[in-house]
Structures are given as C-alpha cells and as structure tokens.
Amino acid sequence: MQNPSVDTHLLPADTLGTAPLLAVDNLHVEFATRQGVARAVNGVSYALNAGETLAVLGESGSGKSVTAQAIMGILDMPPARIPKGEIRFRGTDLLKLSENARTQIRGQQIAMVFQDALSALNPVFTVGWQIAEMFRVHRGMGKKAAYAKAIELMDRVRIPAARQRVHDYPHQFSGGMRQRIMIAMSIALDPDVLIADEPTTALDVTVQAQIMELLAELQRESNMAMILITHDLGVVADVADKIAVMYGGRIVENAPVHDVYKTPAHPYTKGLLESIPRVDQKGQDLYAIKGLPPNLLDMPTGCAFNPRCPYRQDNCVTDVPPLHEISGTRSSACHYWREVLDGVEG
C-alpha cells in the first residue's frame, strides 16, 4: 500500500484461512465537486461472513453510505471515483468486473434496503409489479408466475391480505408496510449479503421494533450476512455481531459488539457512548463531544478527530493514526488507544 496510514488489517475469519464472504479492502471514494475533491471514503476495510451482522456506525458525512453504495455499484461515476481499493465478494474483486457482470450480482447476491422507502419505490407502478419485476428480469419468469412469487414474498414479510394488496400503489401503504415491501424486494432472489442503509430511521419506535425483528428472522432463515448502516447506538446494541465505527471517511474502531460498549478503544466511540443520556445523570449536563464533524473538502491534518478529541497530543495533528491491532478481533485508529481503553483522560 502506498498510503502508510492504512493498515490492511483484516478480520479474524481471514486469518483463519477461510476467506470472508465479502471483504472491503482499503477502499477510497472521492467526489469531484465545484469546490474541490471531497474525499468521502479514505481507506475503509471490513469483512463479513455468512450469517453475520456487521453494524457500520457513524454520523452524516462519515462515509458509511458511500461505502455501501460502492459495494452495490450504484455510485454515480462521475462525479464519484474509486481511485483505489478492492471489494472482494467470494474472492472476486467487484470493481474489476464489467457492468454486465455486476448487474448479475446486484440484487441476486448483494441486495440493499434503503432508508426512505417512499422515494425508493416507483410511485407509478403497483408494489406487486415492482416485486415481480425482480423475477421477470433476473429469473425470466412469466407475468403470472412472477405475481404469484410476489404475493408469496409479501406474505413472508407479513403484509396482511397480500393477495388483495398486491395491486396497490406505494402511497397506499403506511411507512412500516412500505419498508416491508422494500425488504421483500431485496430478499426476493435470496441474496447472500443484505445491506440495510438506515432501514428504520424514518419509522416510529414501535414500527422500528417490528422491522428489526423481521430482518433478524429473515437472516436466521437464510443465513444471510447483513451490513446494517445506522447512527443509532441502540439499534446496533440490539442486533449487531460486530461494529465498524466510521468518522471522516475512515474506520476508527473495529470490534465485536460487546467489547465496544464495555470498553471503547477510540475517543470518538467513547464520546458517543458517553453522550447517551443515562438515568443517573438526570439534572446534570450530558457529556457532549465538542466541536463539529469535519468538512470533507477541508479535512483536519493528521487524525480527522483531533480538533474534537480530549486525548489529543502533538502527533495527532501531524500523523494519521493507523488502525492499531488491539487483539485478534479488535482494532482502533488512535495513537493513544491504550489510554482510551484504560479510561485515562488525555
């Protein structure tokens, strides 16, 4: 790697000798804008095995959705550009495939659920038509058979009276039901990897609980791997096996879920966890990470988090911290991860 800041650290599945189902390796994505080049993703690596749930946690602009769109191959290029990196699915680098070959993978092997189901669904076609399209296009089924499949899927995601509702349009469904239809479309062809980009952010908590339960169930049934992109620490704690925390286009912490919540190893993760209101803090100030998220056009030198970091030392401003390996399963991109782990304030 030419970039010394990026450690091509891989997760244990790889070190055990079995290649992971999906591996993102040192991925860079940049956007040409009128103000200059926005480096949205700066060397992201993560890996995923069958049946596993990886939560990608980060706030807006951290690059979590752009990474997912790069995996799906749905980035608009230009303005987007992938200057380097690999996305290996079952060992093949997706970025080297032809557009035709990628279309074969997209939807069939890697599928995606979007945040806003209303704008992701086509308003002028019935939901049945849109689900059936998956079977017509990818499986070459006839109209009748495809509709029958669509009804079956709507049943599977528990839409009541699927047979009657198959001819309804997206606007006739509630937000939760629309998200179920999105999920039905994404699991239609039994994908190996499901990418869920903030699947419940637009929904109420009671509906969120229904959708997360549905996803977990579908995952159990088919041993699907799932990438859950979210900013909600609560949702992550509920479903994830492992977490990749992103900040400023980089993974800052990579760990099994229990470790992150018990002993965060990066000051950003630690700050996020501490800013959650807890019962015993009532009447006191919440812990707040000071400052603002970085501007992608004008990233701070060194560690992107350094202007907001309580552990900052001189070398944080000059040297980009590599992803230090803490144990076989954990890593943190902080020069002072030992101090953060021990809870010593910098």
């Binding site: 706030e59 807006s60 009541p160 509630s174 937000g175 939760g176 039901m177 109420d204 908590v205 009671t206 509906v207 969120q208 609980a209 229904q210 997360m212 339960e213 900013h231 909600d232 620490l233 609560g234 949702v235 992550v236 704690a237 509920d238 994830a240 879920v257 229990h258 919540y261 018990k262 950003y268 700050g271 996020l272 966890l273 800013s275 959650i276 209101p277 019962v279 803090q281 009532k282 100030d285 919440l286 812990y287 707040a288 990470i289 000071k290 603002l292 998220p293 907001r308």
Partner: protein, 338 residues
C-alpha cells in the same frame, strides 16, 4: 422542579378536528380527523413537560394549538392566566409574547435570505416594546452570546452555519421576547448524534438561567427522560398516561406506554437475548375513524369487551400513583425486567 404557584400554561379539554370534505362546488363535511381530542394538562414555571408518541398521534398539532397557529375546535389554552385560544388582535399579540417555539428542522425554519441578525431580531419588529429600535442590534448580539454563537457573526446567513449552530439560532429567536414558555417540537432529532448533547445541554442551561417552562416534544425517549420533569404519552389525539419521569419510565401502567418503552433499543448489548420486548402488531388506526371505547384496544393484548364499550378516563387507578387511561392499568417495569 417544584410545581408550585400558578401554572404558566393551563390546557383544558383541548380539541382540534380537521374537517374532511367531499365535493368540489358544494363542500359537504363527511368526517373529521380527530388530531387532538380532549387534552388537559398544567405546566409550571421552570418545569419541563415531555410529550411522546408515534407520528400521527397529535403531538405537533398540539404544539400548533399552544402557539395559536391553529384555532381549537373547543377547549382552552391559558398562558399566565390569559385565554389564548379565544383571544384576538392586540390581546392575542400580547399573550403570544409569552409562548415561543423552537422548530424541528433548522434547515427549513430559517429564512435563507435573511441574516442571522434579522432572523433573531425579527420578533422585536412585531413586539417593539421589548427592545427599542436603537438597542436591537446589541440585544441580538447578547442573545447570540447566550446560545453560544459568536456575536460577530450577526451579519452571516443561515447557510454559513452547521445544523447544530442553526438550531442555536432558532433557540435565540425563541428567547428574544423573554417568554415564559417555549414549545420545542423535536428540537434535536434533525441533528447528528454528537451534536444533540450540545443542544440539550444548552436548553437545560437556559432553563435554569431564565426559569423557562418547556413543552418538549420528541420521539427519542431517552432524551425526553433526561430533560423532562413530567412526561405525557399520547396515542391518537389523547393523553393515555401522564406522570413524573420516574413514574412513567419505571412504573408505567398503560399497555401502550409499556410497549413504547420496550420497543426502544437499549444501547447496551449486555443481556439483549433476554430483554422483554412487546412488539405491537400493525400500525396505529386512522385518527379519522378511531376505534370505539379505548383507542388502543385494536393493538392491545389486554383488550376485553369493556374496552370497546367504555372509554377509559385519564385518572389515578388503584395500585398506581399517576393517572392512566386504561381499564386494566397495572404497573409493569418493562425496561428493568429481564
């Protein structure tokens, strides 16, 4: 916080029905969306009342009614003893000074063509008695300082600020007329997680400094718990349970409150396999045609015949210490039980 003395905000049997009409030339009313349907509560100085509920439960209509942006179908809103709902003209203007609002979306609630100084100073144009003309600029700068913005940025435009800073501008505008009550409608939900805590802290500091009373509408239950003295849970236009924060969160008695609390993901993976989860089936019914009797009965696991026939009143039930609108109210600590 002490709830003593006269309440600054008294809401009694507040109702707002939006008519549903049919026909183009001759409009006939064929029904009504019962957005807010008989809501009553008091709010005292320096107190925060949190209002939680799913979308469509009437939280935001309630906020608009409190601000006199909508005329209620019936019921009264009294701000510092004066009736807001039926006031007109100069009276209305005077009462409105006492109740201000912070909006949800800091991107659309600030006019992009006005400078920050104009936005924060605009309330003074309407209520010129608060700040005499020559004094206004200084006043605006003071306000910017109070909410933690640089007073020198008075001539900048909203797009030059980040989301969190814009929300501070919105808060400064709400504070300009020195109101006694501020209605915060989802003030942090549009902000990044790391910025939310900053704004919550600011709201709390301002409350202590100016003895403000807040109506805090939000869907994030942990934030509501942190900031609220009392919490009201709304379902389909009605308050189904109201009480002090500990009463609602630790000893909820209404099944809807219990389901709502259990649906909130806990940010701690420890013991997640054994956590109790009440998953409600379906979506809330339409407020145009709410179920008879108890409105929650169609999704409730405790529902019996009486629930369809008789509407449960919001009152203190045996074995509970705060009002709940359920025939079978029963304390059940969903968050800590596992």
């Amino acid at each position: 916080m002490a709830s003593k003395g006269e309440p600054v905000l008294e809401v009694r049997d507040l109702v707002k029905h939006f008519p549903l009409t049919q026909g183009i030339v001759v409009k006939r009313q064929v029904g009504a969306i019962k957005a807010v349907d008989g809501v009553s509560f008091d709010l005292h100085r320096g107190e925060t009342l949190g209002i939680v509920g799913e979308s469509g439960c009437g939280k935001s209509t309630l906020a608009k009614l409190l601000m006199a942006l909508e005329t209620p179908t019936s019921g009264t809103v009294r701000v510092a003893g004066k009736d807001l709902a039926n006031a007109k003209g100069a009276d209305l203007k005077r009462i409105r000074r006492n109740i201000q609002m912070v909006m949800q979306d800091p991107y659309t609630s600030l006019n992009p063509r006005m400078t920050v100084g104009d936005i924060v100073g605009e309330p003074f144009e309407i209520h010129s008695e608060v700040a005499p003309k020559g004094d206004r600029r200084k006043k605006v700068q003071e306000l910017l300082d109070v909410v933690g913005l640089n007073p020198d940025h008075i001539n900048r435009y909203p797009h030059q600020f980040s989301g969190g800073q814009r929300q501070r501008i919105g808060i400064a505008r709400g504070l300009a007329l020195q109101p006694e009550v501020i209605v915060c409608d989802e003030p942090v939900s549009a902000l990044d997680v790391s910025i939310q805590a900053q704004v919550i802290n600011l709201l709390e500091r301002l409350q202590n400094e100016f003895d403000l009373a807040y109506i805090f509408i939000a869907h994030d239950l942990s934030v509501v718990r942190h900031i609220s003295d009392r919490v009201a849970v709304m379902y389909l236009g009605k308050i189904v349970e109201i009480g002090r924060d500990t009463e609602i969160y630790d000893r909820p008695t209404h099944p809807y409150t219990q389901a709502l609390l259990s649906a909130v993901p806990v940010p701690d993976p420890e013991g997640r396999e054994n956590r109790e989860r009440i998953i409600l089936q379906g979506d809330p019914p339409s407020p145009a045609n709410p179920p008879s009797g108890c409105r929650f009965r169609t999704r409730c696991w405790k529902a019996q015949e009486i629930c369809a026939e008789e509407e449960p009143l919001l009152q203190i039930r045996p074995g509970a210490d705060h009002p709940s609108a359920c025939h079978f109210a029963e304390v059940h600590d969903v968050v800590h039980a596992s």
